[in-house]
């Protein structure tokens, strides 16, 4: 595709970009800079900010809880990316293959995505509540003891399932679009060659969908690190015993519950760097495997 010069007039281009630039500068770049600066201060309500240099970072390095929290976040985000994409891919494939009622299935798959995270969190909380949950009754009838208010690994799993459930719909939208874009001739050829369904999915569709999948890996990673706050806040408050205390929740608590703004800023800078590095790695890896066509 040739490069198109849509706007020849620089002023016009600038004017059109201005609203976006303004919003970005006011709500993203300036606050980001402020956060970096604030991370070098001891700051709270009703106190003068005191410059402390790298002390906040030193506090983080000396805190085993923080490292646990970081490890939990990475594990959580990784599980979300893998979980969401496998489930979504499977659901998308089923919807793709079915002959009748496709729209109905598609809508039901996408439905949870339409819920605001806070509502989804509450709905899920009451579905799987250890004492009054509807789902719990059936799970316990199967002989498993549901006790995720006290049991760390169970809580991690419950929040994870909730977060995956919420995000699958979003992935299905994009995957359906990408799968529908695979030329029908390829499907036909594969069928004629006697390629099994599973093989057709993983050997034909997935490579053809790779640009969309890379996009989704990135979006899901961001979701895993930042978008799951509501579930943690509503369902576990980071507990029990820190088992679901992901970085974004931890930093929110430091800022808005403990009012330790300097330390919270340091935490957000660290989180920013961690996610930044992860994305860089993802792009480098995907460069090798992604097929962008043409």
């Amino acid at each position: 595709m040739a490069t198109r010069e849509v706007f020849t007039d620089r002023l016009q281009a600038g004017a059109l970009l201005l609203p976006t630039m303004l919003v970005s500068v006011v709500f993203l770049y300036y606050p980001t800079l402020r956060a970096v600066v604030l991370s070098l201060y001891s700051a709270s309500f009703a106190r003068e900010d005191v410059f402390v240099g790298p002390e906040n970072y030193a506090r983080l390095l000396a805190s085993p809880e923080y490292f646990t929290s970081a490890a939990i976040s990475v594990a959580f985000a990784a599980a979300i990316v893998v979980g969401v994409m496998l489930v979504a891919l499977y659901v998308t494939f089923l919807v793709h293959e079915i002959d009748y009622g496709r729209s109905v299935y598609l809508i039901s798959a996408v439905w949870p995505y339409a819920l605001p995270p806070a509502v989804a969190g509450l709905v899920f909380l009451f579905l799987v509540h250890p004492t009054i949950g509807i789902v719990t009754t059936y799970v316990e009838a199967a002989g498993l003891e549901v006790n995720w208010f006290s049991d760390g690994p169970q809580a991690f799993l419950v929040v994870l399932v909730a977060a995956i459930w919420k995000q699958v719909g979003y992935n299905v939208i994009f995957m359906t679009a990408a799968m529908n874009n695979v030329p029908a001739s390829l499907t036909e050829t594969a069928k004629l060659d006697g390629v099994s369904r599973t093989k057709r999915l993983f050997r034909v569709y997935v490579p053809m969908m790779s640009p969309t999948l890379v996009f989704l890996v990135v979006i899901n990673t961001i979701y895993g690190f930042f978008g799951t706050f509501a579930f943690v806040d509503l369902m576990t408050k980071g507990g029990p015993a820190g088992a679901t205390n992901v970085l974004i929740y931890d930093l929110w608590r430091t800022a808005f519950q403990f009012y330790d703004f300097g330390l919270a800023s340091a935490k957000s800078v660290v989180l920013f760097v961690v996610v930044g590095i992860l994305m860089y790695v993802q792009f480098r890896i995907s460069d090798r495997y992604t097929f962008y066509g043409g």
């Binding site: 993203l28 402020r34 700051a43 006790n147 576990t236 408050k237 403990f258 792009f283």
Partner: protein
């Protein structure tokens, strides 16, 4: 539907878009944190509204309606208009109030939970409410063990309003079914365990007892047992430096709690899960509930709806000794530096809210206890307590209490940090992931770190 690929364009642009959008979203977490701290200090306070009093509170549901009723009456009696703003929770009021005090544009009154009193007093930007009361206001008519918490340096700093303590509610119907005497509810932790065992063994309820995992309940056990939770008299006599966990109260409590959880006799509703705890009780999953006296109206209605008979009793003691419940609850704080005519209106509001009539209305509507002797006397002579014995329990528990340092609630700067540490570590202890001794010493050292960070 959705038959096209999302962004049909060339490789370069797609990846650039990805990169920038990714970075932008990642930056969001970062951006959320900045811009919180104001310049701090200096200018005199400016009320949010010039035309009416702005009142920030944390009373939801039925209690919120009762409060609105009082404020409506205040407006029609005095002609002063007042705007009640619900801030969702005590934490919400606290955060917004601290931010407002920093910015200088302030609400006229803020309802602050006693747990956070020190954080607000520590700003140095609030005016002692005693300055706002008229000369002839009978300050000595307040119940002394209530006002003693809210008094510092001999002056009433904030106006106590909704004050409660924790009591035990129990399901009389379930007790009867299990063959227990509903007229003699358990009074000690050991008895709570015995009763719970019977209830569960008889298959009447799934668990014996439930309560929200909130620091207030731990505070109550300490206070009832006459044990301080923090040094420096729970922070009322100078800066506290440590959490007192190396004592018999703490060990007995946590050993009991761990045992109750391990044997399925305690139903854990979750951290700060007030609503879940009450629904566990009301739906008959647990036969006993520890919660605020402010739930008394809700308990009566809820029990009726669910077809059982409810009653309440004193908070169970650790080992039989009973000093008294912890005194706390919330109070009205007033920012300093407001114009004089505004201060006068605020004074009127405070006097109205503290009047025996208002206190009686508030007590009957909510279950919070009245803070004026005159109000208690009038309720007594009207026979209110005889007709409503559940409302009696809270008053008795309060008035039978000794005015000793352990019953004065903790007054510490990093209250929220201490609170979450105690709550989080409690879970670690009672779910068995750490031993009682290890958990308690870990709790102690973490809180010490917070205290040092705050005061240091």
């Amino acid at each position: 539907m959705a038959e096209r690929s999302p962004a049909p364009s060339g490789p370069v642009s797609r990846r650039t878009v990805l990169r920038t959008s990714g970075a932008a979203v990642a930056g969001l977490g970062l951006a959320g944190c900045a811009g919180l701290t104001g310049s701090g200090g200096g200018a005199s306070a400016q009320p949010i509204s010039d035309d009416e009093l702005t009142i920030w509170h944390a009373m939801g549901g039925g209690n919120g309606e009762t409060l609105q009723g009082l404020v409506d009456r205040f407006q029609s009696e005095t002609g002063v208009s007042a705007n009640l703003v619900f801030q969702d929770s005590y934490e919400g009021v606290l955060t917004k109030t601290l931010g407002a005090l920093d910015s200088g544009e302030v609400p006229d009154l803020a309802q602050i939970d006693s747990l956070f009193a020190q954080q607000v007093l520590g700003t140095g930007k609030v005016e002692p409410v005693e300055n706002l009361l008229s000369e002839d206001f009978p300050v000595d008519d307040f119940l002394p063990n209530v006002t003693s918490f809210f008094t510092a340096d001999g002056t009433l700093q904030s106006m106590p309003f909704n004050n409660s303590n924790a009591i035990m509610y129990y399901n009389r119907t379930a007790f009867e079914e299990a063959g227990l005497d509903p007229d003699s509810p358990p009074t000690t932790l050991a008895e709570v365990r015995e009763y719970s065992e019977t209830l569960v063994d008889e298959g009447v309820t799934e668990a014996g007892i439930t309560w929200p995992n909130h620091v207030w309940f731990v505070e109550h056990w300490y206070s009832v047992d006459g044990q301080l939770l923090f040094d420096a008299e729970n922070g009322h006599d100078g800066q506290p430096s440590t959490l007192l966990t190396d004592n018999e109260t703490a060990r007995s409590l946590y050993e009991w709690w761990t045992g109750m959880a391990a044997d399925g006799l305690y139903s854990n509703p979750g951290i700060e899960a007030w609503g879940e705890a009450t629904s566990t009780f009301l739906t008959g999953n647990a036969a006993m509930l520890l919660t605020s006296t402010a739930f008394v109206t809700g308990a009566r209605n809820g029990a009726e709806e669910n077809g059982f008979e409810v009653d309440n009793a004193f908070y169970p003691t650790v080992d039989g000794d009973r000093t008294g419940p912890v005194i706390g609850g919330a109070s009205w704080f007033v920012p300093s530096g407001l114009p004089d005519d505004r201060r006068e209106e605020i004074g009127q509001f405070l006097e109205f809210m503290a009047s025996p009539e208002s206190q009686i209305e508030w007590h009957k509507g909510t279950g919070y206890y009245p803070i004026r002797r005159a109000a208690v006397d009038r309720l007594e002579s009207d026979g209110w307590f005889e007709q409503n014995p559940m409302y009696r329990t809270t008053i008795d528990q309060l008035t039978e209490s000794a005015d000793s340092p352990p019953t004065k609630r903790m007054l510490v700067g990093p209250a929220r940090q201490s609170q979450t540490t105690i709550q989080d570590t409690s879970v670690e202890i009672f779910n068995g992931s750490t031993s009682v001794d290890e958990g308690l010493s870990q709790m102690k050292s973490t809180v010490e770190g917070h205290l040092e960070q705050y005061y240091g």
